[in-house]
Amino acid sequence: MAVDIGARDLLGLYEQMSVIRGTERAAHDLFLAGLVKGTTHLAAGHEAVAVGASFALRPDDYVFATYRGHHHAMARGATPAECLAELMSKRTGVCKAKGGSMHLTKASAGMLGSYAIVGAHLPMAAGAAWSAKLRGSGQVAVAFFGDGATNIGALHEALNLAAVWALPVLFICENNLYMEYTPIGSVTAVAHPAADRAPAYLLPAEVIDGNDVAVVADAVRRAAARARDGGGPTVLEALTYRQFGHSRTDPATYRPAGELESWLARDPLELARQRLADHGVPQADIAAADARAAQVVAEAVAAAKAADPPDPADALTDVWADGGSAWRT
């Protein structure tokens, strides 16, 4: 497969992944320290999907993600500080602490939400693509979803109608092998839960290495180009692995021995380091990128900790277009 990203771009993508990884670790630590309430669904291990795809998209393209969506928010331009502040219930949170970990959104960067009802956002992405087509804007929309979403009806309704209307939408599955605690293969009739469904709608599909940022970027670039040219939707199934459990209450004891270790050997950051070395990038440059990332994360943690909690009065704003929440006269 022709996958070629220049050394300078690749180092930039590596640094983005390093920032996301550091932020996810910080989120984990802050949760254990009691500073993040509710739950978190960490995306450590999935970074290459978000960063590779974002690199291949236009800044004005639309992204819809899931409750495991920290990496997509940051890949599209949400800062680690505003994401961590959101998780920590601070007024500087990217959603003013009204959304939380599962709903990170950065609309100004085309990141149109993280959705916590499995599969619900696939029709939305198709709708955004329909809108782009109606407006002739040349934008594409992308729905990122987990393997668990492949067995819900909304996915099939979206794939069918997106195919019929030839919409500029990409359906990108992050197949991390587990539907929450259950192996996806044990509850799915096909081997590749996303890619194997595409032929039913006459859609092109590819199974790709979701841990290789260059492979993801290449596949998304080709699919987006086809979509912009009127070629319709593409289904991509990116094979990846979540390095933490499903959510904060899951120790992931259901994993067979050795599975985590074999995936850690193919960690997206490790694969990127190998590619950088192949490009002749000096180790010192890689280390410097990691150091910059660590600094960004440390400053983000400090800023989020220092930020004020929300104004309680803000609980009653942002329901209606007038900014308020009045339901009666």
Binding site: F64, G99, G113, P123, M124, A158, W327
Partner: protein
């Protein structure tokens, strides 16, 4: 003399006026294109606006409303049709979990300016899965505006307000009213969301009604007028925003309140109206608040059975007589 049109024709007229005014308005739904809709409420739109703006969909309620949502978030004003309001259950995730929460849970970053239209209500013998009045489902969800017009002119005026609103609107068209006639609306007619209408003025008792129960209330008021009773009929027009100011002002005049609603008594919207009046208008009342609502059973098929379940003029008249005798 003003032109007279049917409630059914008012739906397509109201949509067409907005589509002529704003090129970002588009429609999608099952059979809404060349077929003109199963209730013919989109007749003529496909011919005037063409296949790019009037989109036939498969029977995929989640795709219809979910795609409308994604389009609304990105610069289009979709008007989605869900054929029967019972089918809202097939896409309720979008109306309960997604659309109404988006602005709030993003801290105000995202707006969802869409309208979901649907044919609501009973009286036509369609049985339990095609006859329900489900406006109380919508009332239970913070973040949805809920509209249910009773007259052709209000259909046009409220559609204008709903389509122009930057808030999501669930627009209930009553199946039993489609054939009813009334004056059409002048050009540019717009009825702001959340303003009730006094459909008939009176000083002896207030009847609060919505959609199909407005003509029931007016017929009952006519019957009582023969005995010298002047009933005031308040047509709410919207459940969200709910115009309690108009209701309370009317009760202040009449001291008696009857609420007539087609959704079930249990969980029906009349409970909310009664609650506010009891809380804020208790001293205005000379009698208990009464409600005529649907029985808490699935809608039966046969006319003789359906009449037992949903409000009728006779039930409204009986309730009024009882209330006036208190």
């Amino acid at each position: 003399m003003a032109d007279v049109i049917t409630y059914r024709e008012a739906v397509s007229e109201g949509i067409a006026r907005e589509m002529r005014r704003d090129p970002s308005v588009v429609c999608l739904g099952e059979d809404i294109g060349a077929a003109g809709g199963v209730f013919k409420t989109t007749a003529g739109l496909f011919a005037e606006f063409g296949p790019d703006r009037i989109k036939d969909t498969p029977i995929s309620e989640q795709a219809i409303v979910g795609m409308a949502m994604g389009a609304a978030m990105t610069g289009v004003r979709p008007v989605a049709e869900i054929m029967f309001s019972d089918f809202l259950a097939c896409c309720w995730d979008y109306l309960a979990n997604e659309i109404p929460k988006m602005r709030y849970m993003t801290g105000g970053q995202v707006k969802v300016p869409l309208v979901v239209r649907t044919a609501n209500g009973g009286g036509l013998g369609f049985g339990a899965q095609h006859s329900q009045s489900v406006e109380n489902w919508a009332l239970a969800v913070p973040g949805l505006k809920v509209v249910a017009p009773a007259t052709p002119a209000d259909v046009i005026g409220l559609l204008a307000a709903a389509i122009r609103s930057d808030d999501p609107v669930l627009f209930f068209e009553h199946k039993g009213l489609f054939a009813s006639k009334g004056e059409t609306a002048p050009d540019g007619h717009l009825v702001p969301l959340g303003q009730a209408a006094v459909a008939r003025a009176g000083s002896d008792v207030t009847i609060v009604a919505l959609a199909s129960t407005v003509p029931l209330a007016l017929a009952a008021a006519d019957e009582l007028a023969e005995g010298g009773v002047a009933a005031e009929v308040v047509d709410l027009r919207c459940l969200v925003p709910l115009d309690m100011a108009t209701v309370l002002a009317s009760v202040g005049k009449t001291s008696r309140l009857l609420i007539v609603e087609e959704n079930p008594y249990q969980g029906g919207w009349g409970g909310t109206v009664a609650s506010v009046v009891a809380d804020e208008g208790f001293e205005l009342l000379d009698a208990p608040i009464r409600r005529v609502a649907a029985e808490c059973v699935p809608l039966p098929f046969a006319d003789v059975l359906e009449d037992q379940v949903i409000p009728t003029t006779a039930k409204v008249v009986a309730a009024l007589r009882s209330l006036l005798a208190y």
